[in-house]
């Protein structure tokens, strides 16, 4: 059934997204930035202060390609491919580790990173990451440095708190994330009022519970480091030699929002290769496109990465935190979409 001509009604046809106004007219109107001039200045000040802090601590800034021939094998990080050029990088980690292996010393990088399919109040496909590496520091020492940075940038926060990942689940939900079955987790989700469209395996259920319930329940008003992620979620962190079921990986939360992800870095090339192969097998099993392991990263590990710890911090979210804002679009000049 069609709308009568000239009736001025909007017709939504099945299979179409809701009405879009004339694209040319829309583009002409939406030339303006979203972030206000005041926000742009606050953002500039944050960038200056981040650089000043790290420069004062003896690190120096590097610039590595945004566009590179390899990408992480991680199942849940979707990289934007650029035909003929490789991928836009979701993090400068691989290039920075090659610099570290070549004797760069302590370095940082501050710039855009790209993750396809991530769009929401706290996610943007293109966002700004600050990533830095400290040779000879273990994870607790790096957390100390991060806490120092936050004291400087978010001076009203209380002292930092450390909560092991497993304890966070036990304390908030009374469930042991290492032993709970998919069925038990499903029951917990339902009890939390979370209605699933289709059932989840245990790993996915833990991810959802962590984001929807555990993280928001973490103490507010102070930096909270969630530590000791399980080996299955180690990414490129080394395993704890004393507790190999745990990885030396941590995440920083402020008021329920994840601001940073850090590791005591994996050094063993064989383990790196093994994890890459496991990721590829899991990708195949899930019907995801194949992602070869970065051979140059592997070669750098074989040459020898100095023992170090590193952290990746979301600059947009840090700015949101400083300004008391909930939407990432408010802190970007021209947010996508």
């Amino acid at each position: 059934m069609t709308a009568p001509p000239g009736a001025g009604g909007r017709v939504h046809r099945a299979g179409q997204a809701p009405d879009v106004a004339d694209p040319a007219a829309t583009a002409a109107e939406d030339w303006r930035p979203v972030a206000s001039p005041d926000m742009l200045r606050r953002r500039a000040r944050l960038l200056r202060e981040l650089r000043a802090f790290l420069d004062a601590h003896g690190l120096y800034e590097v610039q590595t390609p945004l566009l590179a021939p390899a990408a992480p094998t991680d199942l849940h990080i979707h990289c934007i491919g650029v035909p003929g050029h490789g991928w836009l990088q979701p993090s400068p980690e691989f290039a920075m580790k090659r610099l570290l292996a070549a004797g760069s010393g302590d370095i940082y990088q501050l710039g855009p990173v790209f993750r396809a399919g991530e769009a929401g109040r706290r996610h943007a496909v293109e966002f700004t990451m600050l990533e830095w590496y400290r040779i000879g520091m273990d994870a607790p020492a790096l957390r100390g440095e991060i806490a120092d940075l936050l004291r400087h940038l978010l001076p009203t926060l209380g002292p930092p708190l450390t909560v092991p990942w497993r304890s966070a689940f036990l304390d908030t939900l009374g469930v042991d994330p290492l032993t709970a079955s998919a069925g038990e987790l499903d029951a917990i989700l339902r009890a939390q009022g979370i209605d699933l469209h289709a059932s989840l395996d245990a790993a996915a259920a833990l991810d959802l519970l962590f984001d929807a319930v555990v993280a928001p329940s973490l103490p507010r008003g102070r930096p909270v480091f969630v530590t000791a992620f399980p080996a299955a979620q180690a990414a490129l962190a080394m395993l704890d030699p004393e507790h190999p079921e745990c990885a030396l990986r941590f995440e920083l939360f402020v008021d329920g929002v994840e601001l940073a992800n850090g590791y005591q870095e994996l050094l063993d090339a064989d383990e790196l290769e093994r994890r890459g192969a496991a990721d590829r097998a899991a990708r195949r099993a899930s019907g995801l496109p194949d992602q070869p392991v970065d051979s140059r990263l592997l070669a750098a590990h074989r040459h020898g990465l100095p023992p170090c710890s590193g952290v990746a911090l979301g600059v947009d979210r840090l700015l949101m935190c400083q300004c008391g804002l909930e939407d990432i679009a408010a802190v970007q000049a021209f947010p996508a979409g």
């Binding site: 099945a14 209605d195 991810d207 984001d211 929807a212």
Partner: protein, 190 residues
């Protein structure tokens, strides 16, 4: 039937959920650091008007709902069903009292309304934002009483009662009413 994947979810999208046509009213993207992404979605069931919440794994998909909003002319009602006509095609549809709901008290013959149709069946009817209706019953106003802020109720030709009209409004006069709030806006000529 077409389907939508979670990355196409946005407000206003019409989808089928548990056999009912629903409209997405909010779509929240959720993703822990290096984990699985989810969409936490709030939907309005277009049949029952109830609001649901549903969490989807990123990449899941739902069937599109054949839901269309069309402008149609109100013709008449026998109290149980309400007849509307597409002015271009002359096709008629009958809407149930459930679909018409509260709008029924503002409908005047020939008024153009927005109908939400699912597979051609009216789910809901929205009257025009403003309607002009004749006052059929109201207490007489005091002569010259245009200045006081007092109000009185007035019944209009559809049987609806506008609770607050100015005291100077008389029976037989036309008034403009905001159908969204049920409030008097002004006198009208036609």
């Amino acid at each position: 039937m077409a389907s939508y994947s979670t990355n196409e979810f946005r407000s206003g999208l019409k989808v089928m959920l548990d056999g009912d046509p629903c409209e997405i009213i909010e779509n929240e993207f959720v993703k822990p650091g290096k984990g699985q992404a989810f969409n936490r979605v709030r939907l309005r069931n277009l049949k029952t008007s109830r609001v649901w919440e549903r969490t989807f794994k990123s990449g899941e998909s739902v069937e599109a709902a054949d839901v269309v909003d069309v402008q149609m002319q109100y013709l008449y009602s026998d109290g149980e069903s309400w007849c509307f006509m597409d002015a271009a095609s002359f096709e008629q549809v009958f809407a149930s009292s459930a679909a018409v709901g509260d709008s029924g008290k503002w409908l005047k013959e020939q008024d153009t309304c927005t109908l939400t149709l699912w597979d051609g069946v009216p789910l809901s009817v929205s009257p025009p934002n403003h309607v002009v209706l004749k006052v059929t019953e109201t207490d007489p106003g005091l002569r010259g009483d245009t200045a006081t802020g007092g109000t009185k109720p007035a019944t209009v030709e559809t049987g609806a009662v506008v609770t607050r009209v100015p005291l100077f409004v008389e029976e037989g006069e036309l008034i403009k009413v905001d159908t969204r709030t049920g409030e008097y806006i002004s006198r009208a000529k036609e």
